[in-house]
Amino acid sequence: MTANRNTGLSERVDLWTILLYVLIVLAGAISITAASYKENTVNVFAFSHFYMKQIMWIGIAWVAALVVLLLDKRVYHMLAYPAYAVGLCMLLAALAFGKEVNGAKAWFEFGSFRLQPAEFVKIATALALARVMSAYSFSINRPRDLFKVAMVICAPLMIIILQNDTGSGIVLCSFLFVLYREGLNKWLCIPVVLVATLFIASFMLSPMLLLVLLIVLCTCAEAMMNGAWRSRIIFLASLALATVLLCIAMHFIAPGAMTPYAALLTVVLLSLVGVVAYAYRANLHNIFIPAGLFVGTLIFLSTTDYIFASVLRPHQRDRILSFLGIISDPRGIDYNVNQSKIAIGSGGLLGKGFLQGTQIKYGFVPERHTDFIFCTIGEDWGFVGAMTVLVLLCLLILRLMRMGELQQEPFGRIYCYCVASILLFHVLVNVGMTVGLMPVMGIPLPYISYGGSSLIAFTIMLFIAVRLDASMRRFSLKNH
């Protein structure tokens, strides 16, 4: 069996995926060369250059990929929980003893090499999530199971946020993508996404507007789940009427004591009692989910100012405000994004050519070989190059999703979707950041940004999926 597996491996692995991977990694190596090449370099192949280091990391990553392919498929199922536990421990250890880089206490240092456990915890979390959700008795829409899933995602997320590496932490939120695929009610997914946007919106919208939006959002979500639109609209109308009446009444009793906002808040909170009573009577327990979401968000939003002022670091605050256009400072906070847009925008259709991009070569874009690597591609290779890389990444993600769909066991499917969602999130945030669509978060572009931890972790992550896919093919071949 063992011999059989080894000989057939090259035929069974998905060569398309590997081809895409190799192309993307090579594009990354070329870009890092362009971003870190210095004119007048005497020794082009000196190991101090980033591109030489990256080539070494690519070698290590490929060895790791081979090891991953050679291990038995069941190992990953088995290792899911231990890996998760080890990952959490490493995160805590990094929090306690790690080295601080760019304000994030998220690194271990061994000599001249640094390791970021958060990169590997993504794999462990994906495996653990797949394991939890593939359990026989698991049903995603049952609050107890949903809570389990939330715990699996939130435990590492919290630690990573405590490490002050918010960007890497938020990546784990992308598992919502997987949850949706596994049948999480879409009227829960959408509000979660919207609440996230509300957090950002809370800086721009008035509290009153925010509250109204929240009420309408949660009521609609509930109505979408349970139907009965008529009664929900009546509920909204009566809320509005009650608020107006309360306002008028308060105006006569104690003028100025209650603002419309306070009146609406009072009415809504009072109405929650009725909502709870209704839920019990009509036996519609899922009403508690939007209701809980509402209360949770309300508390969350009322603390956004506090979070914003106390929890977020000044640079994070500035990044969000700058992204929202509330503050503008081209020399300071906006500098990175501005220079990044200039570099990409000046690339034009065909780009300036390899090593010819002036913005990159002369150092106008900071972090050009790591987080802002996409600028190098955009400037040197132009629209054509940028599109090529985006298409390769898009194909890889779609390929992973297809792999997942072809899996016969939920474990493999869920894992493949986890990988796809992590990649998608990284690409969206990283590329979005370089073109000014997203606030600046320090997360790398998978396989392309310079960095050993990230390259090796993403490679292992991808090749576990390839390995699962390969064993599935063996089964399917046998079965047919």
Binding site: E39, F177, Y180, R181, E182, G183, Q339, K341, I342, A343, I344, G345, S346, G347, G348, L349, T358, Q359, K361, Y362, G363, F364, G378, G382, F383, A386, M387, L390, V391, L393, C394, I397, L398, M401, E405, Q407, Q408, P410, R413, Y417, A420, L424, V427, L428, V431, G432, V435, G436, L437
Partner: protein
């Protein structure tokens, strides 16, 4: 749920999400790279630095080919702060070599520290010698940049040549083709011929990195351009005459202008007090400029083209000419003068001379009474039917001589002098005035104001017997065939040339026979002259002298005006005479007169209070 219909739908939805995300990113990238052209420009603004290469400014030569203005090489000291060695450098030695104060050096270095890799000016106007010494010292991080400044080998012609200065923000507002750091001529020749002198700047486009360090030239210098030096000018000035003029006028306040009558070329133009134009160049420029501004005698005021002086008796020439043209005077007409002119209670004093006298003798001896008769005859000419009309006719004549208006010379700041009109007297005397009221005009007093240039032009008109060329300061501009057309045009006065002979005769007799100007006699040169002594409310009379020589085919017409110089013959005449002698014979044979002029002491209580 795998394989189930619901799962299939959800897979499709997620595929759509992925594709939408990528389309969003692709769309944004396409917008940045293909449609929004701003980023291209911003990238260039980031990386390209346009280094201006300054052209040497055009030089100015005198009519004999001697340099009046040269461009001298000088250097700006630049520093790239980050390249200064870690151990610093010997500041005391640098200050000593470059002659700058330590305080200033430290201030500039503190500024340079702000952008440590960008070049920054530390000191300017470093002479070639200092630069060579500096190069020997080999200070790390410092280097010099070539520029040119003005240099005046003869140290003459301060107000005439004008000065060059860095453009001010205000100037930039009105002249968008200049940029900060450019030099521009602000007065005299420098401003009048700015467009010819300035040349064209070159540009060197360099690529710089984010720290401002220079990385090389853009497109291998394809878009670079070399500076084009400014054109040189040949001035009409005779620098040796100018130098003598300035020496003679030293210590006096006034102006002296000499014109070549046959061309209108200005041979010499002295405004006194003057200054050494080299003082307005270099590091001490600001201090010197302020010193001059505070000087009450006003060395920065170009009296030669701007001052308004009463012409005094020299104006009698104009009165006589108008009388002849108007037919109210014949050269042989005799008028009596016994120590003056009297009409009713109005009396105009005169000095002792024979009586009655004709026009020639009246000019030669500068008789006041004679020209009172002439002037009254012009104004009260029955032809005009009233003093008002008569006066306006007179004014028209006077203006045809170039008085009361700008001559149109190439001095941009030329003054127009002042000739009152009839309305002025109507207002002033509320309608009750006649030719007696304005009688002082007849001898060039009263409200008249003439610039020394206009007076020199009068001398040229008389020398030419009736016409003039607009006086100008530039003979030739490199690269151009001719000057402005107006300088080649003869301007006739309203007096016919035939009427000039008796006046010229009178001027000749004033020098040669018996008159006020006999000390202007130069053997064999046929000098013609007219003195003037102008009363003024600020003390002693102004001394003025108009002259040209020789009488036939005159080569020089000159006007000298010395404020508070006393009689025309006592201050202005010897100066004019010496200048004529020097110009026409190249020597001065009267050293005692030279000493007399140089040692002449005139007090100016009005200025030196």
């Amino acid at each position: 749920m795998s394989g189930s219909y619901a799962g299939y739908i959800r897979m499709r939805v997620l595929q759509c999400v992925v594709i939408v995300v990528f389309l969003l990113l692709a769309g944004r990238v396409a917008w940045l790279q293909l449609f929004d052209a701003r980023y291209e420009e911003m990238a260039k603004a980031n990386v390209l630095r346009h280094v201006v290469q300054y052209p040497p400014r055009g030089e100015v030569l005198d009519r004999n080919g001697e340099y009046l203005v040269q461009s001298r090489e000088c250097y700006d000291l630049m520093v790239i702060y980050s390249e200064i060695g870690k151990r610093g450098f010997d500041t005391a030695r640098m200050c000593e070599v470059l002659g700058i104060s330590r305080k200033r050096l430290e201030r500039e270095l503190a500024n340079a520290r702000m952008r440590p890799r960008a070049p920054r000016v530390v000191a300017n106007y470093i002479s070639k010698e200092d630069k060579l010494r500096f190069d020997e010292c080999n200070f790390r991080g410092f280097y010099t940049v070539y520029r040119t400044v003005r240099r005046y080998p003869n140290h003459v012609g301060g107000n005439l040549l004008g000065f060059v200065s860095e453009v001010t923000p205000n100037y930039l507002k009105h002249h968008p083709d200049y940029q900060a750091g450019d030099y521009v001529g602000l007065s005299g020749v420098e401003s009048a011929y700015e467009s010819a002198l300035k040349g064209r700047k070159g540009v060197m486009i360099q690529e710089v990195d984010t720290h401002g360090a220079i990385k090389g030239s853009y497109m291998d210098g394809y878009y670079d351009s070399l500076p084009e030096p400014g054109h040189y000018l040949v001035s009409t000035i005779d620098s040796r005459l100018q130098l003598l003029g300035e020496e003679l006028m030293d210590g006096k306040v006034g102006a002296a202008v000499a014109i070549e009558p046959s061309t209108g070329e200005i041979l010499m133009m002295v405004s006194s007090p003057t200054y050494d134009p080299d003082e307005l160049v270099g590091r001490e420029r600001g201090n010197n400029y302020m010193k001059m501004l505070r000087n009450k005698r006003g060395p920065l005021f170009n009296r030669a083209v701007k001052a308004k002086y009463p012409p005094g008796s020299t104006f009698k020439l104009v009165q006589g000419l108008i009388g002849l043209q108007e037919g109210v005077l014949r050269p042989s007409d005799l008028h009596a003068c016994y120590m003056g002119y009297q009409a009713g209670r109005m009396k105009m004093a005169c000095h002792a001379h024979a009586s009655p006298i004709d026009l020639r003798f009246a000019v030669a001896t500068s008789c006041n009474a004679y020209f009172c008769y002439v002037f009254r005859d012009i104004l009260d000419n029955p032809k005009y039917g009233g003093v008002r009309e008569g006066f306006n006719a007179w004014k028209e004549y006077v203006e045809s001589f170039g008085f009361g208006r700008k001559l149109g010379s190439d001095f941009l700041d030329e003054g127009s002098g002042y000739i009152p009109d009839a309305d002025y007297y109507e207002r002033r005397y509320r309608g009750t005035w006649n030719s007696l009221t304005v009688l002082s005009l007849s001898i060039g007093q009263g409200e008249l104001g003439c610039t020394p240039l206009q007076l020199a032009n009068l001398a040229a008109i008389v020398a030419n017997r009736g016409y003039y060329y607009i006086p100008h300061i530039v003979k030739r501009i490199e690269g151009r065939d001719s000057l402005d057309a107006r300088f080649y045009e003869r301007h006739y006065t309203m007096v016919e040339p035939k009427h000039f002979e008796p006046i010229v005769e009178g001027m000749w007799r004033g020098v040669h026979v018996d008159g006020t100007s006999t000390s202007a006699y130069l053997e064999g040169l046929d000098v013609c002259g007219k003195t003037g002594t102008a009363q003024n409310p600020h003390g002693k009379d102004h001394s003025t002298f108009l002259s040209f020589a020789p009488k036939d085919n005159p080569r020089i017409a000159i006007s000298v005006y010395v404020e508070n110089g006393g009689f025309g013959a006592s201050a202005a005449l010897p100066i004019a005479s010496l200048l004529e002698e020097f110009y026409l014979t190249d020597t001065i044979r009267r050293p005692e007169l030279l000493d007399y002029v140089k040692n002449m002491e005139i007090h100016y209580p009005f200025y030196d209070r």
